[in-house]
Amino acid sequence: MFTQQEHQAFRLEFPQLEERHPNGKRLCYLDNASTSLKPNHVLNCFQKHMRQEVSNVHRGIHSLSQLATDKYETTRAQLATWLGAASPSEVIFTRGTTYGLNLLAHGLARSYLQAGDTVLLTEMEHHSNFVSWQHHLEKKDVKIEYIPLNDQGGLDFDLSMLHDKVKVLSIVHQSNVSGTVNDLAPLLQACRERGIFTVVDAAQSVSHLDLRQVDADALVFSGHKWCAAGAGVLYLKANKQACVAPLEGGGSMIETVGKEGSTFAPPPTCYEAGTPPIAEIFSLGDALHFFGQHDFKHLCDWERSLYQYACDQLEKVPGVKIVSKETPRSAVVSFILEGVHPHDIGSILDEEGVCVRAGHHCCQPFMEAMGLTATTRASFLWYNNEEDVDQLVRGILKVKEIFHV
């Protein structure tokens, strides 16, 4: 694990940690489940690209375009290796997790799902993994069912939920509300045995867990939560690509175009219509390079021990209750403080320099199942330290003082 000095040096790689909160206080950034800060390496590469290398991909025959195209495809190949994909063509660049889920919901609705089929989701999902399915299945006679939550905020699953009508399971790897990590392996195995198409939302877990351990047909995540400038990835198994029609038509994704109709390029190109967010996609490779310079296990060990410290310190504050204690959990902790609404907690913490999220975290079905309307959420990444936790706890004590609770 990091020594304090090593960790201090690691923090210096993230320039925003040197900045003050807009109100002048020490910046305590605990909103990492929303988006992450960016390291110097990613920032420098992004700027270098924008200043020196701008060109479109897959278009020109000039040298700059060729260089950009090579870098684009190299980034794809690097991500494929990192994800343990069988081939780079299984890696599709997207705008982010939400786009990836919409692409899948639309594509499966169009090419795979039949009237009478069922799509299985869970009550733990982010709105992006609810609304995309509701939206794209609206005109289809396809039912959506949900794996319910138990009273600890974990999934209450049994095999009977994978009945004959279920053709797709789309499930979150790690909750953005509670940090709970779902044990996907047995579930994905059971789906494989039944021929059920599996989708994993790795928006949170990408920063905390080894995605090579997840054997799903499709997996989505965003770059911005994972130190990249933006963009995202849809991993889609080669032998399942025929099940997923492209979401967007346009330039690049075609083979031939005629007035009577057009044919599409093979994957992954058919899923990447128009000019992609090139600089952001390059930054996915830069983020990978950054992680390559640090032992990921090292980072995660630090984060795990910090998370334990944070949960312990929070529970010591009278009136604070951690929401959903289902284990294993990591990186994200939601809590309520009796007598004070999370929105008020968020405002007061902000004044203390602490950035957290307050509200339903785009998980209203989760909140409803847990009998809540809102929580305060602190979320950690490898660059956070005990000082951040202590500043959070001092902020909560300030809330208690103002609200006399």
Binding site: H343, S347, T373, I402, F403
Partner: protein, 161 residues
């Protein structure tokens, strides 16, 4: 700083809101949502023909109540609203609502004399994210008075910050 926002009157109304709870039957009703944070309130109004002379046969807010859940800012604002509008003619109430919304949204200090206790929110311009909380119930009430039955959201209302 936080003390400037969370003044005692806001904390008091948050803890013990006035006119809190449903009112059934009522003549006018609206639901107000803030989809960003999940705050939701309902405003219930009982309008009756005014009997007093000189009221031009207009209608008076005989009873007004609110229910729901949200932060201290939204709850205190709703509670103060019910206190201020109770007993008022519908016409006067709409004017009061207009002035209060203008005061909160635009921090129109010239209205400070017209908004009564709501001037406790005069610091809200330092917290632009919280303006939506303070206007939620007032906006719902305005819709209830003009449309009898309405649903409003902080993300679709005209002139929302």
């Amino acid at each position: 700083m936080s003390e400037a926002l969370y003044q005692q009157i806001i904390l008091d109304h948050n803890r013990s809101p006035k006119n809190f709870g449903r009112l059934e039957p009522c003549t006018h009703h609206a639901k107000g949502y803030n989809p960003l944070c999940g705050d939701q309130y309902e405003v219930f109004i009982l309008l009756e023909k005014a009997l007093e002379a000189g009221t031009n046969g207009g209608e008076t807010i005989e009873e007004i109540r609110f229910s729901g859940e949200g932060c201290a800012i939204s709850k205190a604002s709703a509670s103060l609203m019910t206190q201020q509008l109770k007993g008022m003619s519908s016409e006067k109430a709409l004017k009061k609502i207009e002035a209060t919304l203008d005061f909160i949204r635009n921090q129109n200090r010239s209205l400070e004399a017209d908004v009564g206790k709501m001037k406790v929110f005069s610091n809200l311009h330092k917290y632009p994210m919280r303006i939506k909380c303070a206007v939620l119930a007032w906006h719902a009430c305005e819709k209830a008075l003009t449309e009898k039955e309405a649903v409003v959201s902080t993300e679709t209302q005209e002139g929302s910050p």
